[in-house]
Symmetry: none
Subunit: 361 residues, 2 copies
């Protein structure tokens, strides 16, 4: 089997969807993508683990990265793919169709088609995005071959309903532990009830007013939420300890340090451990290349609420936006799908921007 890049986008999406590639199992799909890229004379192809990087080298004064991850969250009886007529017209349904093989299909199609783009393009197809940050294929490439990621601008084809979404929220997860003192429940006055002690943490969470923040003209809505709670050891013991994990989504006007300082302020008097840190990314829409892209697509940009690898580009100093087919609220759901018209819409948005001679640098 090999990928037919001359096929229509729906067929191409179904083909790559039906090659199951749950995180850690991307090899078969990466092999197919590498092989397809190597048939294209205008691309220089690199392989790093199960990531494939394919670049034009036309000596254009600007270079853009167009990236997508090829892994998915676990299959839930939703493979092979199928077609449905739905509220948004023709839907391609199945694990990964939304997050984010639809974007990958557009990448593959345009990589074949755009032999003479107006900007040099680095196509990146990478592994292990849906798991821990340590395993992320894009992070590994940045470590192994940073020169392959050099660019002036990046488009990450995560699902955005074919809208340009700028920046991303940062995430801090902390684990607050409230201590107590065990005692038999029959003599509770000899102990200190750690679960009762959680009320102070919950009161602060309930009192917290999440900000709405405008950054580079986009409004970000923050959030401070308990996501997990546990405590107690047995039904007849005064709980000696209770734990509450808090997920803080913060707008890209804050650095990680500032976000941490905010949590220290909110939970003053409680000690906590930091379980996860993912920095925010500014929208970067003040950058000329980003502005040119927004103008070419012809739609206003929106804020991205979820965390995506645009933050990784942001850390490398590369302005980046999200732009891809599929409804982001369907990502990871068992009934994820991509409307066929969004495949065409995104392909056309990128095609015009990367072909337009007036806009040529």
């Amino acid at each position: 089997m090999s990928l037919d890049l001359s096929a229509d986008l729906v067929s191409l999406l179904r083909t790559i969807t039906d090659v199951e590639s749950v995180s850690g199992n991307e090899k078969e799909l990466a092999d197919l993508i590498e092989e397809a890229m190597r048939t294209l004379g205008h691309l220089e192809v690199h392989r790093d683990g199960d990531a494939v990087i394919a670049r034009t080298n036309l000596g254009r004064p600007e270079r853009v990265v167009i990236a997508g991850h090829i892994d998915t969250v676990p299959v839930a009886g939703n493979l092979p793919s199928r077609l449905e007529e739905g509220e948004r017209g023709l839907h391609v349904v199945g694990r990964g169709t939304c997050d984010m093989k639809a974007g990958v299909a557009v990448q593959l199609k345009l990589a074949a088609e755009l032999a003479e783009p107006n900007r040099d393009i680095t196509w990146i197809f990478y592994d292990n995005e849906e798991v821990g940050a340590d395993e992320n294929g894009l992070g590994r490439v940045a470590e192994n071959s940073p020169e392959l990621l050099e660019a002036d601008f990046a488009v990450l084809m995560e699902p955005t309903d074919a809208q340009i979404e700028g920046g991303c929220q940062g995430v801090l997860r902390i684990l607050i532990t409230v201590p107590g003192k065990a005692a038999h429940a029959a003599r509770s006055w000899l102990g200190v009830n750690a679960i009762h002690g959680l009320s102070d943490v919950l009161d602060r969470l309930n009192a917290y007013e999440a900000r709405e923040v405008v950054v580079d003209d986009l409004t970000y809505h923050e959030g401070l939420n308990a996501v997990l709670v546990s405590g107690g050891v047995a039904t007849n013991v005064i709980p000696p300890s209770a734990r509450i994990e808090v997920n803080y989504r913060y707008a890209p006007d804050k650095t990680t340090e500032e976000a941490l300082a905010e949590l220290r302020r909110v939970f003053e008097g409680h000690s906590f451990d930091i379980n996860d840190v993912s920095p925010a990314a500014r929208p970067g829409l003040d950058q000329p290349l980003a502005r040119a892209f927004v103008e070419s697509v012809g739609q206003p940009a929106r804020p991205k609420y979820g965390w995506t690898d645009v933050a990784r580009f942001s850390e490398l100093g590369i302005p980046a936006v999200n732009y891809g087919p599929g409804d982001p609220s369907l990502a990871h759901t068992d009934h994820e799908y991509c409307p066929a018209n969004q495949l065409d819409q995104c392909a056309e948005g990128l095609r015009v921007w990367l072909s337009n001679q007036e806009d040529d640098a």
Copy 2:
């Protein structure tokens, strides 16, 4: 291996402590006890699951039950047993030493020794006391062979610091579930955070003022405590549900129905399931055999705070008290121990009462 009932009480306690018997795993210890009882010619021995019942049949006009459970709460790095010199002299330290293998050691020793007691004795060693009432070995024996429990009075050898403790608190355990609505943590305003919703339950618990109640001259101290809490499904999801288990210890002036009405009042507006119901028992110290025991031991009786199986005897119409070695406030703690002198004290208290010819019926 077999039990040496001629050994001193400290050695006997250490031997049975070192046979781990966390609830559900009592078979090895029950086998040893059954075997030891069968070597004693003056006892008729029955086995029911991992409960062992051994009775004298001397035709005495009165019969007393002396009972103890052989299971423990989970081990917490506190086995095998060890000896320490502590504030109360020689301590036997380790899981179960206090609750309640010290009492079991006294039972075993006296079962061997008292071949001709002044009252017929039914020795009961039973399983699964530290878990749900449905699994309780004494309850199972009462169901399977009620004739084996017939008696005029019962002594339960739960730890009481070698004091007679009358009656027991009732226990109601309820599970309060707070509903929410799942959403991605990045878009938390689309969900309802069930963990945040726990604060109302915790506020009521923190505001609750537990009563102190006098019943039959003994003062009982009530308690209302969260013992377990859990909630949340993943670190990036607004929790759709959270649960808090509440343990209510109530004085024996309340019926189970009255206690339940109190919980309905305290948690009005929340729905809950009832996870456990264990009725309270009045002290019963107005009964002649109870009075004779108190007089023989020569100490004033105290109230029992914890729930014990005296309530089970109370329901069978058998007056019952708690009397055993070990500090009840150490029960279930990781540093539980029994002072050696309390082993001797309880053995002597029972020995005198069950041998005293003047007191012979």
